[in-house]
């Protein structure tokens, strides 16, 4: 077991560090794990697993949201949004950087995945923030971390997977995610304000103050974007579209708005489509590689045996939680969040129940830990999305995100000290 863990870690460092593409590194790792440690022939598993990871209804939302981001990027709406918000946010330390946090929080109510949230929001905010002279690393950090809210604020793919695997109410889990999501947003906002207050020289000059009348006129520029968001959220909660379908509504509404607002023409349309295809196929190939690595881990039973090893220690609840957090963060470095949940619930859930944790609460805790895996290298999908968008190096982006990773740890401590943050809203649903 130890040999396997060490071999894989060394192989990953060599392959990724040597510049092998992320998707191929994951595939190679899966291949080594099966070939060297299970006695099974890796070839057929490779083919059949990549196939099974390549299709699926729920996956279709991701390229759609990415496309929506590409269209919005060409719609002029980002510029409008920032022009409209700038006068109001002038006095708030951190100013327009807050758009990353609130934009992600709002978009998280539409999208069930954090990579999609990251791609759509980031495509609008990152270029604008950079153009206006904001600190790029802070912009990247706030975006990568706030986009993880896509998983915590309903709808959420991972809460659905957890709910199905552990037979918990998905409706309750969705309710339970809301307050912790707001708590994380508050932590991010707080950090951003503190940082800007400490480093005034690294913030761009504020725009000249506008008279109130002009300010209000500028604010009107948000209207198309508000209509878009209302349309997409409304289509879900009005029963016209499932969360997966809502992504497509987002694409169509964005096309209409971009046409009206910026005269989106055929060239811009084609560019948006090709941009979306580039990002989507990059993510899809990595998802396929990650799926193969996950399957390989299933065959070697490494994550399960590690979990069993933890279970055998019979730790008191508080220590168990600390150990589990370390375990999940470590796994999350190599596997994506959903895989971590699927591979470990069989062994982790019984010990969690035995330790007396509320399973709804634990689901929320788990999602935050898994969200953290979205921003830890080498396998962190939000990092991949941002590298695809900015061309910056993965490790560089990870470093920019580190403070926010630590803030999420603080969030977990708060959630453990005050479990009501997660359990209050679902307990108000009655019928338990």
């Amino acid at each position: 077991m130890l040999t396997l863990a060490i071999t894989l870690t060394i192989a990953l460092v060599l392959l990724l560090g040597g510049g092998l593409w992320v998707a191929f590194s994951l595939m190679a790792l899966g291949y080594i794990a099966i070939d060297g440690f299970t006695g099974l022939p890796p070839g057929p598993i490779f083919g059949s697993d990549i196939w099974s990871a390549s299709y699926g209804w729920e996956l279709t939302a991701l390229p759609m949201f990415i496309w929506m981001g590409e269209i919005l990027f060409r719609s002029g709406l980002a510029d409008d949004l920032f022009k409209a918000l700038a006068p109001w946010l002038d006095k708030l330390p951190g100013r327009l950087l807050h758009t990353n946090i609130f934009g992600s929080g709002l978009f998280a109510a539409v999208s069930g995945s954090s990579a999609a949230t990251c791609a759509t929001v980031g495509r609008m905010t990152l270029p604008e923030l950079e153009r206006r002279g904001y600190d790029t690393r802070l912009a990247i950090g706030t975006l990568a971390s706030s986009a993880t809210l896509g998983l915590l604020i309903p709808p959420s793919i991972i809460l659905i997977v957890y709910g199905i695997a552990t037979e918990q109410s998905i409706a309750r889990l969705f309710m339970a995610g809301i307050l912790p999501g707001l708590m994380l947003m508050a932590l991010f906002v707080g950090y951003l304000m503190l940082w800007s207050w400490r480093h005034p020289t690294r913030m761009p000059e504020a725009d000249a103050p506008l008279p109130l009348r002009q300010r209000l006129r500028e604010t009107g520029r948000i209207l198309p974007l508000l209509l878009l968001i209302t349309g997409v959220i409304g289509s879900i909660y009005g029963g016209l579209a499932s969360p997966t379908e809502a992504a497509t509504i987002g694409v169509v509404l964005s096309l209409i708005i971009a046409r009206l607002n910026a005269g989106l023409d055929m060239t811009a349309f084609r560019e948006s489509l090709f941009g979306a295809i580039q990002t989507s196929s990059m993510i899809a190939l990595i998802l396929a590689g990650a799926s193969f690595l996950t399957t390989a881990m299933g065959f070697t039973q490494l994550p399960g045996q590690l979990a069993q090893w933890i279970a055998a220690m019979n730790l008191p609840p508080a220590i168990l939680l600390v150990v589990l957090t370390l375990f999940f963060v470590a796994l999350g470095c190599f596997l994506d969040g959903i895989s971590v949940v699927v591979l470990t619930t069989s062994i982790v859930m019984p010990m969690v129940e035995a330790a007396g944790f509320d399973l709804i609460w634990f689901g929320i805790y788990l999602v935050i830990v898994v969200e953290m895996s979205q921003i830890t290298p080498p396998v962190g999908f939000n990092l991949f999305v941002i590298q695809g968008m900015t061309g910056r190096d993965l490790l560089d982006i990870a470093r920019a995100t580190l403070p926010f990773f630590l803030l999420m740890l603080v969030g977990i401590v708060l959630l453990s000290l005050f479990p009501g943050i997660a359990t209050l809203l679902p307990s108000m649903m009655g019928n338990t």
């Binding site: 392959l15 990724l16 560090g17 040597g18 510049g19 092998l20 593409w21 992320v22 191929f24 595939m27 190679a28 291949y31 070839g43 057929p44 490779f46 083919g47 059949s48 990549i50 196939w51 390549s54 299709y55 699926g56 209804w57 996956l59 279709t60 390229p63 759609m64 289509s235 029963g239 016209l240 579209a241 379908e245 497509t248 694409v251 169509v252 084609r270 489509l273 090709f274 941009g275 979306a276 295809i277 580039q278 990002t279 989507s280 196929s281 990059m282 899809a284 190939l285 990595i286 080498p378 991949f384 590298q387 695809g388 968008m389 900015t390 061309g391 910056r392 190096d393 993965l394 490790l395």
Partner: protein
């Protein structure tokens, strides 16, 4: 780097774009059906219940085209991500060698994958495998699309492998121009 088969990869990307638009169209029709029903019920008529049978299944299979047919094109544009922080600091000669090694690994993986996918397509054909659900899609078709995407990627990797190998031997400094264009500015 020049890709001689670029029209092929671009063709793949166009097909991916068509698949993406087809998904959009299917889902929009489905949603419009619901909107129409809402309106009818509002005015006291019976809902028509128009819906596309097996829509989600078909969209899920179209996704294979939307993502994997564009994967070779994405590679030529430098869109598949990698970590370059460490390799950037290596002198040109060993770096060129490393690049050849990494391309060899990638090429080996896509060759194995393509081979296995071809076996999968033949197997699905031999057993007449169809999808579960209302559309009953013969699985060999979406699987063949995936195979096509991977085959295009293999070709692109092969082209990159050959030209990298040639340059690594003849003139390694030309392999890594001073400013590495980021993928976004490339499109």
């Amino acid at each position: 780097m020049r890709f001689y088969l670029m029209p092929l990869y671009r063709g793949g990307a166009w097909l991916a774009g068509l698949a993406m638009m087809a998904i959009t169209l299917l889902i929009m029709l489905q949603v419009l059906g619901r909107v129409l029903d809402r309106i009818l019920v509002l005015f006291g008529y019976d809902a028509l219940g128009l819906s596309i049978s097996g829509m989600s299944e078909i969209a899920g299979f179209l996704l294979v085209g939307a993502t994997f047919l564009g994967t070779a094109y994405t590679f030529t544009k430098g869109g598949h991500i990698r970590v370059t922080l460490l390799t950037d600091r290596i002198p040109v000669r060993p770096r060129a060698l490393l690049e050849v090694i990494m391309l060899t690994i990638a090429l080996a993986l896509t060759l194995v994958l393509g081979w296995q996918l071809a076996a999968l397509v033949l197997d699905s054909h031999a057993y007449d495998e169809v999808s579960y659900g209302m559309a009953a899609v013969p699985l060999m078709y979406p699987q063949a699309v995936l195979l096509t995407g991977i085959a295009l990627l293999t070709l692109a990797l092969l082209e990159a492998w050959i030209s990298t190998l040639v340059l690594a031997i003849s003139n390694p400094s030309r392999l890594f121009p001073a400013t590495d264009p980021s993928p976004r500015h490339g499109d």
